[in-house]
Symmetry: C2
Subunit: 193 residues, 2 copies
DNA sequence: CGAAAATTTGACATGACTCAACTGGAGTGG
DNA sequence: CCACTCCAGTTGAGTCATGTCAAATTTTCG
């Protein structure tokens, strides 16, 4: 697949000159992953920032009881990764794994630092991306404190219908902070309500 | 109080030239608030980005049952506000209120846009601040899914001992996503455990 | 077709909430 | 400096939302 969706995504937010586009292009690589493959594995230091060209991935944490907790699901035009460890270049405590065959645009940590130097616009670009991600994250916290599990499920469905179709229910349940069994019961009740 | 802590905070992260410092200074104002006063009120559009010079504030949401949910507590050297509404310059759905008499450094929305233009370093500066805030927020989500209320309380105590001393228990309880009654019981149990 | 993965179902357990009453400071004003 | 109120914190009884565990069923896919 081509890089077009990636550049479209960027240019929708920040117009780039041809030379900037060329510089950026020179720092990108595209990598394909098979369903089930890990992009980031707990304990390894993530070297790349990942943009999803195609496919679908989950980011999750394994707690001390061995349970999986999904913190993020990414599809086309989203970023995926363990941002904290990437930024500090330390060992990941999260995992990122493909739920489908996927293609990612990857930017190496050092190249990204270079890009910030060479194309200050990108600094702004990522500032805005992260700001929005932060606001969304804070909202998610408030939702989890304010709403019941069923309400959160309905809201998710409303907001991300595309994702609900694509990911296994247990992933969605985990993302919503509930067990797969309970989500199953919620869905069942909704049908007869 | 002087602006020194504010500039210290910035320069710890991004060295500024004298002229940059002067430009920045020209866009700042300091405002004092009394305990109980609102800095941002649900329904009003927040015009300023707020840095806490002194004091302590809570950011909270009132749900449809009239219950208060604290999303954030800020003390010296933290930022406070309803970031989402500030960024979009739309009506706040959060409130920011002082828990103590407080002094804030405020930057007007439009001045901030100008500062990004004039001092590209600030773009980086805020990108990094928000990145860290985002990572912290994601962690908070995982904690709330992974840990029990008592564990979250202990972890908070460990991480922010300064804040526990200063805020009323019901604020802390709300921040942790539990009721004040339950936090009271947790504390009680911890004493005899 | 068969095995593995995902989902469902039911009985039971529990963490956390609700509500209401009570306690104990911390102002405040007379 | 007392009386009063107000706000924060505590306590207890009862309840509810969600979790646990284990088994049954369905779907997916090699």
């Amino acid at each position: 697949m081509s890089l077009k969706p990636f550049f479209d995504y960027i240019k929708d937010r920040t117009p780039l000159t041809d030379s900037e586009e060329a510089i950026l292009l020179s720092k990108l690589r595209v990598k394909k992953y098979r369903k089930g493959e890990f992009v980031v594995r707990n304990g390894e230091t993530p070297r790349y920032k990942n943009f999803v060209l195609s496919g679908c991935l989950k980011t999750f944490y394994i707690d001390d009881k061995g349970r999986e907790h999904v913190s993020m699901v990414a599809i086309e035009n989203w970023w995926a990764g363990d941002l904290g460890s990437f930024l500090r270049q330390t060992k990941a405590h999260l995992n990122v794994q493909c739920l489908e065959d996927s293609e990612l645009v990857q930017i190496h940590y050092h190249d990204l630092q270079q890009l910030y130097q060479d194309i200050p616009k990108l600094e702004r670009f990522f500032r805005i991306i992260v700001q929005n991600a932060f606001v969304a994250s804070e909202n998610r916290i408030l939702n989890s404190f304010t709403l019941t599990a069923a309400e959160r499920y309905l809201q998710f469905r409303e907001k991300y219908p595309a994702i609900e179709q694509r990911v296994p229910q247990y992933v969605l349940a985990s993302y919503l902070g509930i067990t797969k069994e309970f989500l199953s019961k919620i869905r069942n009740q909704l049908i007869f309500a």
